[in-house]
Symmetry: C2
């Protein structure tokens, strides 16, 4: 994964493309939500019908050189992806709005990863539990060991997919705006507005049994 | 758009599906980043080759019953979408991590919209400028009027696409976790951790001309 494939090479602004595992893994590990793209044949198109793409947001987690994502075994996305059709798993972290002096040079600072490939169903129980733990721990570290483990019928109702990271690329923009040289003298404020996802104050379930304290691993996630 | 189509009907947990314009527009208007899914035929597959889906993050804006998105005229995604192929435009707003007592019932609170359809290129100059203004104002209200307008060659280098909102659906989860009845007595903390995107302190361009004040429309976006 240190070389792009023709499909993952960043064509627009190639300087923003990165293909090393360290860069790609760091972006994946900083995110918990991905968008999975898949394409279904259309029944009503003239032959050959153009496929209809779909994009589904879902939680994920990385383990070494693969990512796991999961959902209901009845989900259209998971059933399709498990059928050996190509998927695209995409992660975007927004870092800033880039405020240039010209409308044209406005941009975002971001870190994104695109993974192309074919996912496979994780069927063995111990592997499936381990994959679910990896996804859960990627969202809230410490949670998995604290909660009631899945029953067998819950595991059966859940599909877990494994996608290898051998065809992936990152795209990153950082830094201030880049304006046309003649625009730098314009009397327009320029710079960046940083963005980040922040956690609010934990809100207890109305049915929470009185006396249960917020565990430390959750307390440190909250900024409330 | 008050009735789902077979392709936009929320199949998993139908109670979370919404098809009215007010709900869909409110979610779109609360977001600025979307993910556009598209599918390209694969050259190396056995006939008929399965299409390869791609997902590209991009900024967007809504105007009435259509959304605009844009990018480099050379972008693969925009060239494909402008060619009349079906696309999927997806928006996700994460509202909270839902911490249930069982691993299985963990979830997210979110608002998402899926739009299916075929986009068309906006070619007329005034319409194109207006569409770019709508996208810009959806990201930073007040910015468009303050910056240097696009030159003709900048407009030519930019593709703007219009996607109608006539096949769209929203999916929303709100509220506390829903556990199995017998799990409510477990001594496990349960509730939600709210998430939101926040803006940091504006960082001036190192090349900013001294003496240019931060305009009010930007100052109020910052929490620094």
């Amino acid at each position: 994964m240190t070389q792009p494939t023709p499909r993952t090479r960043v064509a627009r602004i190639p300087d923003r493309g990165h293909y090393d595992a360290a860069t790609i893994y760091a972006i994946l590990d900083a995110a918990h939500l991905c968008h999975v793209g898949f394409a279904l044949p259309q029944e009503d198109g003239a032959p050959p019908p153009p496929p209809q793409p779909f994009v589904t947001p879902t939680l994920f987690g990385r383990d070494g050189d693969q990512v796991y994502f999961h959902g209901s075994a009845a989900s259209r996305m998971l059933r399709h992806a498990a059928g050996g059709f190509p998927v695209c798993l995409e992660v975007t972290i927004e870092d800033a709005i880039v405020l240039a002096r010209s409308a044209f040079h406005h941009s975002m600072n971001y870190r994104s990863v695109v993974v192309l490939g074919t996912a496979e169903l994780v069927t063995e129980t111990a592997q499936k539990l381990r994959a679910l733990e990896i996804i859960a721990e990627n969202v809230v570290p410490g949670r998995w060991a604290d909660v009631r483990a899945p029953y067998e019928q819950e595991l059966k109702a859940t599909s877990v997919l494994r996608l290898p990271l051998n065809e992936a690329s990152a795209k990153i923009r950082t830094g201030p705006p880049k304006d046309e040289e003649e625009d730098y003298s314009l009397p327009i404020w320029a710079g960046i507005l940083p963005l980040r996802q922040t956690a609010g104050e934990l809100q207890p379930d109305p049915r929470l049994t009185p006396g249960i304290e917020i565990p430390e691993y959750l307390r440190k996630l909250s900024i409330g």
